[in-house]
Subunit: 402 residues, 2 copies
Amino acid sequence: MAALSLFLDVPLTREVDWLLDAYREDPSPDKVYLDHRGRSCWLAWVCPTVRQTLLQIANDPTLDHEYLPVLGFPEFTRAATELALGRESRAVIENRAGGVHTVGGTGAVRIGAEFLRRWYNTSSPNSLRCIFQDAGFTEIRPYHYWDTGRLAVAIEEFLEVLESAPDCSIVVLHAPEETGLTPKQWEEVARVMGRKRLFPFFDVPAQGLASGDLDRDAWALRHFVAQGFELFCAQSFSKTFGLYDERVGNLIVVARDNETLVGIRSQLQKQVTGTWATPASLGARVIAMVLNNPALLNKCLRMLAEKIMLIREKLKEKLRILGTPGCWEHLTAQSGTRSFTGLLPSQVAFLEKHKHIYLLGSGQVSVCSINSHNLDYVAQSINEAVSSTVGRAQGLSWAETE
Amino acid sequence: MAALSLFLDVPLTREVDWLLDAYREDPSPDKVYLDHRGRSCWLAWVCPTVRQTLLQIANDPTLDHEYLPVLGFPEFTRAATELALGRESRAVIENRAGGVHTVGGTGAVRIGAEFLRRWYNTSSPNSLRCIFQDAGFTEIRPYHYWDTGRLAVAIEEFLEVLESAPDCSIVVLHAPEETGLTPKQWEEVARVMGRKRLFPFFDVPAQGLASGDLDRDAWALRHFVAQGFELFCAQSFSKTFGLYDERVGNLIVVARDNETLVGIRSQLQKQVTGTWATPASLGARVIAMVLNNPALLNKCLRMLAEKIMLIREKLKEKLRILGTPGCWEHLTAQSGTRSFTGLLPSQVAFLEKHKHIYLLGSGQVSVCSINSHNLDYVAQSINEAVSSTVGRAQGLSWAETE
């Protein structure tokens, strides 16, 4: 055997999630991690109903643990697809919407991205960026829909991005229920996208957790379906069900007609066969059982949505009591698991350097990472960051007038 | 919106598993499916220990269902890697062997194949073929190690294939414990592969089920490691644990040294992040718990290996009682879940057309698909196929003298 490795040239890659890496390496006992990507924190709370269902299924002596079909557990994909599109959706009734049970939402994005690379004539789509890159897309453009200065939706800029995109580009619409766009604004987005023949790839990580209402959170997606768009939608249940480690996702395909859907699903089946063969089953069984019991489902979701809004209110109240410069109404005006704080990059850097609090440079935080143990510390730290880095008056100005 | 689908040109692919498709569409109540790929049949029996462990874990109120790390459940990958290589393996001790927790054995082959396409200088590997094709390999050559005429290992032909392969080719060594090669023959294979600098990609779907002995089944793999090869090994636990639907696999990487291993695993981590983000957890927790309890593990494996050998013996005895032409000793001379029956393509076709029994054209069957309900029917049908298609004397001649 040769003495040198065959893989001498393989470079060590940087940790894919450098923020999480910095957090993990920080020895401070006060450290807090406020990014939304991947980590679940207190939201990794499993609703008692889900836990009971899990036990019921694990206890079932008739469950044979046979492989699932390549495209997954049919009761799950059907229930999940109807949850997003609505049971009365014409795409559902006309048999031209179908799901592919995937390994988490990531698996849904990946298998969808690979399909589009192979079959979509022209091609465009953050951690999502790396999935599309891995799937072979080379031209990827980021865009923003949030004005960090005005602390509001940047609808004009968003529409401009769409207008200036090459015709037939793929547009990834991440967490549409959390963007804060109004139905009127979504209608405008759909009009521009239809005219420019842009392909919508929705990514719905937590339907129901923004408003506590499943239908309301699915408004934008359903509007696009109603307008006749063909589209993909990557759907995840990790946050809504707390079963982060069971990796259950669903790739929804809405096609022009059933014949097209059948062709697309056959290609996706081929891709899945060569990627993970068949998905894991237990998590999907638990979720399918709850999805098929709307009373249980709504109870779980309302509990979660209320927990999230309560954290938002508590944080706003703490900042008010501390006299933190600026207006913090946007914390409760927004909803869902993620929040733009309006913190400036210099303030984000202050929090990381002096307070061991880690969040994205854009000031976006995962509300679920804030809990009863770290709430006071986080609020106090934000107060110090805002007060010390820009001064009281300046803090007021960026938050209200810019 | 345009009236035509964006995906008009997407052709319907043939069912990836045409044999399974033919079986599913066959309305006969007598139909039997004897292929090994994917289907588990009676082997989807879950050992009571595994079921208890599953319940214990599902019942654990401290289990938080948080995401696993990208490379998976460390206790699982460590135990699984040591199971294959041996705890005393120099590669383990020198910290240059490591596992990547994958979504089933398929996921292990896929993520390994993609890595090799990106990082291995030159590039070779049945359902495995499609995984490598999907991963971007274009030049793939099939090979055989079984002489269907002589009903014996075709070692000379196998060595010739290796000798004539381009230097530095990748050689997929599927189910080494079931090929029937002796240690001496494996040593010869390793010598040729070392001289030709061929890269070994082992695929171990059921360690322990061939001989009932974990170490004996891992002999070939460990010999290659001991000879200093760098290699990949896709490892599956579906058959040994009966948890087919939890999709637990492990990609073992053995590198020249720890530094190289760290580089390779960092690249694999990047690939996993863009493919399924993190693997599912419950199945891996169950398997890790049993793997870390050797007494339990050996008990489970012995029970399974005995069940498999009993079916082989019963089938041979039935054929003897029926007076089926030919010698059937090879049924019990081989071991493991798959068996070359020595049936000719015309006999395989007879079984499918007249008996609703489906198996590969090579005459290979999954022993686990034969059970107490279909054993008599399968034996009677093989008897008819052999007797009617080639006649008694001819049947004898191909089985004994060719």
